[in-house]
Symmetry: C2
Subunit: 338 residues, 2 copies
């Protein structure tokens, strides 16, 4: 490998091998079908000597395809997003794609900007885990035939592949477990619903679960980080209205931590004074208080499947939009033991 300061180009290889640029290009794209073994060997040698590899930028410009996948996440700080990202990145790379990441930092308005930025780099497809608030660009993208996969959150009007936890199953699992443990009066705490489909769906599932289960009562509360005292009030109200043991279902790990904090403020023991089961298992869940009961999501799998859907579409799959729902798994711990 000679050490030129500049990267060598297809022309360098052609010159060195004594062939045309076209032949070198063929070596990379149709080696088996179009090339004489002898020529192929010469090219191969020159490529090795120069340490040449094609410029994806130039290829992209010519082909209109980039081997790039755009991944837009609402908030890279969210461990769930990260876990999905991880799975997706892995699958993409295995398929020869690189991931371009755009983080919204929870700034709703930037969704279209992000999609456009990635579009301009000619990404071949999108994986979206966003708020679905400002989906104009996403819609346009899909209309242009670029594959889009939604993770965890649906966008209304956007009929594309969708990969997510089965929220109904997860809520039923949580609720059923609480019942078995003897809790009767329940409160679902979620982040502000906004237009986030997964949050809304969990509320719906919860409401239906309570309605369908005689002897239980339920309510919902939207908690925001800036307003811990609102949460305190909601929890106090739960305890007041409860005739028997009461429990909280938390909509994600961030909220679970808020509940834990609130319980600490009130001096309540988790499990005994108030039950808690949360969606999203975390490495620390077993060690907080008596251990937090949680429903884990198969996050890696979700990311992997999202990428896989995209790959299939890129290979031309024309089936109707699919909806892939994966079940969660309950991990019972002290926070649901009375």
């Amino acid at each position: 490998m000679t050490k030129e300061s500049e990267r060598s180009t297809i022309a360098d290889v052609a010159r060195r091998a004594g062939v045309s640029k076209a032949t070198v290009s063929r070596f990379f794209n149709h080696r088996e079908t179009l090339l004489t073994p002898e020529i192929a060997r010469r090219v191969e040698l020159a490529v090795a000597e120069l340490g040449y590899s094609p410029s994806p930028m130039a290829q992209s410009l010519k082909r209109g395809r980039s081997r790039l996948i755009g991944l837009v996440v609402a908030d890279i700080t969210n461990p769930y997003s990260v876990a999905v990202l991880r799975g997706a990145e892995h699958a993409c790379r295995e398929a020869g794609y690189l991931v371009m990441l755009f983080n919204l930092g929870n700034d709703l308005e930037r969704e279209s900007a992000g999609i456009r930025a990635l579009t301009s780099y000619k990404v071949e497809g999108f994986i979206l885990n966003t708020m679905g608030h400002d989906a104009g660009a996403a819609l346009e993208t899909a209309r242009q035939g670029k594959p889009v996969v939604l993770v965890d959150r649906l966008h209304r009007g956007l009929e594309v592949d969708f990969v997510s936890l089965d929220n109904w199953q997860a809520i039923e699992l949580s609720g059923g477990h609480l019942l078995e443990a003897g809790y009767r009066d329940l409160l679902l705490v979620t982040e502000p619903l906004g237009t986030v489909s997964s949050r809304i769906e969990r509320v719906q599932a919860f409401t239906q679960f309570v309605d369908a289960t005689p002897g239980t009562t339920g309510a919902c509360y939207e908690s925001r980080a800036e307003d811990p005292s609102g949460l305190d009030a909601a929890l106090l109200q739960l305890r007041q209205r409860a005739k028997g043991p009461c429990a909280v279902v938390s909509s994600n790990a961030v909220v679970s931590l808020r509940i834990v904090a609130a319980a600490a403020r009130q001096g309540w023991r988790l499990g005994g004074d108030i039950g808690l089961v949360g969606i999203d298992d975390t490495p620390w869940a077993p060690y907080v208080g008596p251990g937090i009961t949680a429903v884990s999501q198969p996050t890696d799998e979700l990311g992997r499947l999202a990428a896989q859907c995209l790959m299939q579409r890129l290979q031309g799959l024309q089936a109707a939009p699919r909806s892939i729902l994966l079940p969660g798994t309950l991990h019972a711990r002290g926070s649901t033991q009375r």
Copy 2:
């Protein structure tokens, strides 16, 4: 904005405005200096009507610059990496750059592959938070004059800007706090050192702290996730050798959780039976056991500074490699109260 299915090109704009492609290009690159207001207005109008924006790919091909920054992280699952990533991405975007992410997934061997992949996309600079194990490509990159910034971990032989927690300060802070709280016999637990400079440095700092502080004893243990019983043994040994109260300094949040788990296995109370202070604060630290005392890193700031260094180099700054060390902040909690 007319809705063509294809993105419009500079040629479309030129035609529409009745000018040449060169003029449109000038409109974007040297508007003030080279264009008649009248012409500029016509171009501006055409651009708006067509919703045109230049193709970064084509620009990149022509200019040899891509407005892309390559970010290589050892493990996207690590919250520290994510936090840094977040800060860096933000700063890059503000400067008009997009981040291309390459995650090693803790696969040491892939470092060069990642750097090469990103290089082929003509990223203009690198932010590296990796193991430094396989730095061949990084070295080559730096030699080619592409700016590189290292975060948290040095690579030997690679003399470039470096941004990190001040590990000496952080360890001294932790150790000092333990002393004040009355702990005398200390154990530093870290992930396997390998070639990771930050881990090594923390051990050095710890050793020196113990040596320089009469009346204390210290030891180090390298803990691996697969071997919890090894950790148990190390902790038992600590308690045996300890004449008075003993405590553990944990090298990062993952290890802290392992210590917590080990203490739980032994039935020890954190703080009373064994002290614990960890580097890396986390949202859950206050709620695990009696609360885990931790030294927080200014992660956002670290990422921001890394990106900022890069931007300065991209603007031609030729100063000698800088080393930016930021102090940590102690958050005292129950795990260091006897």
